[in-house]
């Protein structure tokens, strides 16, 4: 294959633009410092992008299920899982695994509740997950009352460890993302999810078990949120009631900026990393240049729109 053909194929990838944008923003950032701290900025970007990617993967699977499917309970689940896990672990290294299991169990429980609302009560997913997020947030408050317990030292060390400037956790999540991309493209489950997202009726008539597939996606999303809560509380020195807040918009933004279709049926995992790095780097760039809050919001919004316009194809002329 010659270079031109390769480039053309690359340009056809929907996730390309997220990476292009991330790199551009990074270059603009280090332009300010004259190249100083270029590596450190990337390290920080990978560190924090990791957490968004974890929830982004789950959100992406849900969004792939088709229009109207979205998980708004991710922030509350992060908070609940973080609170429960840190309390169970109670700073003891020996309980790390137990904490992980509990966080995942929290996620699974939330996922089951979400899908029960969607399926049994036929509540549109947006509202079902929004309502359950209120309940989960209350549960987190009632359970922990915002009291912040330190994570076990080993967990804290693991979540902040670096290997040649690359966060170990980021490496793990890159592997996880690769696996999830494989699941999406090359397994039955992935095909089912994409089929349902395109045409749920046709999927049913093609013999796909629509109910179970959707169920699994919602549970997966919540489990990843639980995992994120667990790791995040390890990373930032304990859980707090507001720790999930920013992941509501972030998880959705990741999916769409990463080039997945919001109408469902067409998604990709690599874009999540690109978008996560991009979103972090945008804030960093604007902070570095010393923009005030108003200008920062304004610029963030315009940059997001610019990226999406650049990545779009013009509607074919008739």
């Amino acid at each position: 294959m010659n270079a031109a053909a390769f480039l053309r194929r690359l340009a056809g990838r929907p996730w390309l633009w997220a990476y292009v944008a991330a790199i551009a923003v990074w270059l603009v950032t280090i332009l300010f410092t004259g190249g100083r701290g270029a590596g450190e900025v990337l390290t920080a970007a990978f560190t924090f992008a990791t957490f968004s990617v974890i929830v982004g993967i789950g959100q992406m699977y849900v969004v792939t299920l088709g229009p109207g499917n979205v998980d708004l309970s991710i922030p509350a689940t992060i908070t609940l899982a973080g609170a429960v896990a840190t309390k169970i672990m109670d700073t003891q290294d020996g309980m790390i695994l137990a904490g992980l299991l509990v966080a995942i169990a929290c996620g699974a429980a939330v996922g089951i509740v979400n899908y029960a609302l969607i399926w049994l009560l036929r509540i549109p997913p947006i509202i079902a997950t929004l309502s359950s997020s209120f309940l989960i947030q209350s549960a987190a408050i009632a359970y922990g009352r915002g009291i912040r317990i330190k994570p076990p030292p080993m967990l804290a060390d693991f979540t902040t460890a670096q290997l040649f400037g690359m966060p170990v956790l980021a490496i793990c999540i890159i592997v996880l993302a690769a696996v999830m991309e494989l699941v999406l493209r090359r397994t039955l489950y992935g095909r089912w999810v994409t089929a349902i997202g395109q045409n749920i009726r046709a999927a049913r008539l093609a013999g796909i078990d629509v109910g179970r597939t959707r169920f699994a996606a919602y549970v997966m999303s919540a489990v990843f949120a639980g995992l994120c809560g667990y790791l995040l509380s390890g990373f930032s020195g304990g859980s707090s009631l507001s720790m999930g807040e920013e992941y509501l918009l972030t998880s959705i933004a990741l999916v769409v900026i990463g080039g997945s279709s919001v109408a469902g049926g067409n998604s990709n995992v690599p874009g999540l990393w690109g978008a996560a790095l991009f979103l972090f780097l945008v804030v960093t760039m604007l902070n570095t240049y010393g923009f005030g809050a108003g200008m920062r919001y304004l610029a963030t919004g315009l940059i997001i729109i610019a990226v999406i316009v650049a990545a779009s194809a013009r509607r074919p002329a008739r």
Partner: protein, 485 residues
């Protein structure tokens, strides 16, 4: 036969979609007072040609309206202003609107105070003319109507007149979802419309319709016109021959003696509202007949579901696959390639380890491309790049390629050309011989002849059970209409 100057005339038009050359130099003239029958295999370029006339997209070549080449591009608006109407192959109504509102969407003139009433009267009067006793109200929401009625509304809408006249009406497979009764009503109206000086282009894969209604028949093949003669000069056989398919029509009628099978049935099902029981055995082809929308599709879907989850009153053994007729809503996955669309139900077999094996899926797709003759250079092309009939073939390939013992077919030949039909009939027979069971809902008498026995539906229940020997059009019609039964 052509009378008067042509309304529209195309000279040497060409159209390509990427690598696909859909039209490769076509001439066409439509005169007032004639009905042109347009036939050709799936993907021959018929719909593309009609889209051109309707102004959906432009093309190379000359286009003259009333003898004058238009200055600007030919758009939907200019086509409409010149009285060119089109009933597209895929549904072009808004399902969320009422019948009257859909009429309004078509006519800019229907505005201002009291437009609702005017729109409703307009469409209902037209429906009365085309399909007497249609039973459709102006306030019905289109999405609630069964597909046949939706098609009726769309057809009637094309003939309605407000400010611009209706001079040329294009009907692209208008009868694909209509039963025989409604189809004959439509054809009768077409003759009346033509007699009053209008022009109709009728596209259909049912050659009987073409021969009955058309004055002139144009045969297309691979983007070219290959034959054009008055309809009277064609017979069914010569028409088939002109399309380039070998006519082996009545070739393999099934062994008459086969009769009713014995032994344990593979399917037993009873309609929710009672009536006779449906029974199908291994190796049987069972027809579901009756007028459109009498509960046949519903029965198929219930049987389909019962193969997966337990359902009261239905037993199914050995898995089932379904070929949908309404491919837009029940069949295709629009973002996927043809290969992905075909292999979706067979993926379990096409894995190595837990991962789907690309080589295996490609092999299956290519195998079916040749077996069922899907016209595409590459099975990795998007499914929507296929012509309607070819999409339908892909759905057939999906079901036949699966391991399911029972294949349920919901009026599956909609838009499939006659050559392919013959091949598919052959395939169905061969598969039945090997032990597969087919349940086949169709409104075509010709297709019922391929069945071992036929259940006639009326009002969501089975009212007659005819064996192959007993099957005649008369008896099916009798059973279909209450008063006669």
């Amino acid at each position: 036969m052509p009378v008067g100057a042509p309304i529209i005339r195309l000279e040497d038009v060409r159209k390509s979609f990427g690598a696909v050359r859909a039209l490769q130099g076509v001439d066409l003239a439509c005169h007032p007072g004639e009905c042109i029958g347009l036939v050709g295999h799936n993907g021959a370029g018929k719909s593309t040609l009609m889209n051109l006339l309707a102004g959906v997209f432009g093309a190379e070549g000359r286009m003259l309206i009333d003898g004058i080449e238009s200055a600007g591009p030919h758009t939907i608006a200019t086509a409409k202003a010149n009285g060119i109407r089109c009933v597209f192959q895929e549904l072009s109504l808004c399902p969320n609107l009422t019948v009257a509102e859909n009429a309004r969407v078509m006519h800019r003139a229907l505005s201002g105070f009291g437009w609702r009433g005017r729109a409703g009267r307009l469409i209902v009067e037209q429906l009365d003319q085309v399909f007497p006793n249609h039973g459709i109200g102006p306030g019905d929401i289109v999405g609630d109507l069964p597909i046949a009625r939706r098609q009726m509304v769309e057809i009637a809408r094309a003939f309605t007149v407000t400010d611009a006249p209706a001079r040329l009406v294009i009907l692209d497979e208008p009868t694909s979802s209509l039963d025989a009764h409604l189809a004959s009503q439509l054809l009768a109206y077409v003759r009346r419309f033509v007699a009053e000086g209008g022009c109709v282009v009728l596209i259909s894969h049912l050659l009987g319709e073409i021969l009955a209604a058309a004055d002139r028949v144009i045969v297309m093949k691979d983007g070219r016109v290959v034959a054009e003669r008055p309809a009277a000069e064609f017979t069914r056989t010569s028409l088939v021959a002109a399309m380039g398919t070998v006519a082996h029509e009545e070739a393999g009628t099934r062994d008459m003696a086969a009769g009713r099978r014995q032994g344990a049935p593979r399917i037993r099902a009873r309609a929710r509202t009672g009536g006779n029981e449906l029974v199908a055995h291994r190796g049987e082809i069972v027809g579901l007949a009756g007028l459109g929308g009498q509960g046949q599709s519903e029965m198929l879907i219930r049987i389909f579901d019962a193969a997966r989850h337990r359902a009261p009153g239905i037993t199914v053994e050995g898995g089932s696959a379904l070929v949908a007729g309404d491919r837009q809503t029940d069949g295709v996955f629009p973002l996927w390639s043809i290969a992905e669309n075909i292999t979706i139900t067979s993926l379990k077999r096409l894995r190595s380890g837990i991962l789907i094996d690309r080589d295996k899926t490609d092999a299956m797709a290519d195998d079916w491309r040749s077996r069922i003759g899907i016209r595409t250079p590459d099975m990795h092309n998007p499914i929507l790049s296929l012509s309607g009939g070819n999409q339908q073939k892909a759905l057939f390939a999906r079901a036949l390629g699966s391991t399911a013992e029972t294949v349920l077919m919901d009026d599956p030949m909609r838009g499939v050309d006659i050559g392919t039909k013959q091949e598919v009939y052959g395939m169905i027979r061969a598969e039945a011989e090997r032990g597969r069971t087919f349940l086949w809902y169709t409104t075509e008498m010709d297709e019922l002849k391929h069945c071992d026995h036929v259940y006639v539906f009326r009002d969501h229940r089975i009212v007659a059970d005819l064996t192959r020997g007993e099957l005649t059009e008369e008896r099916v019609l009798h059973a279909s209409f209450e008063d006669v039964a």
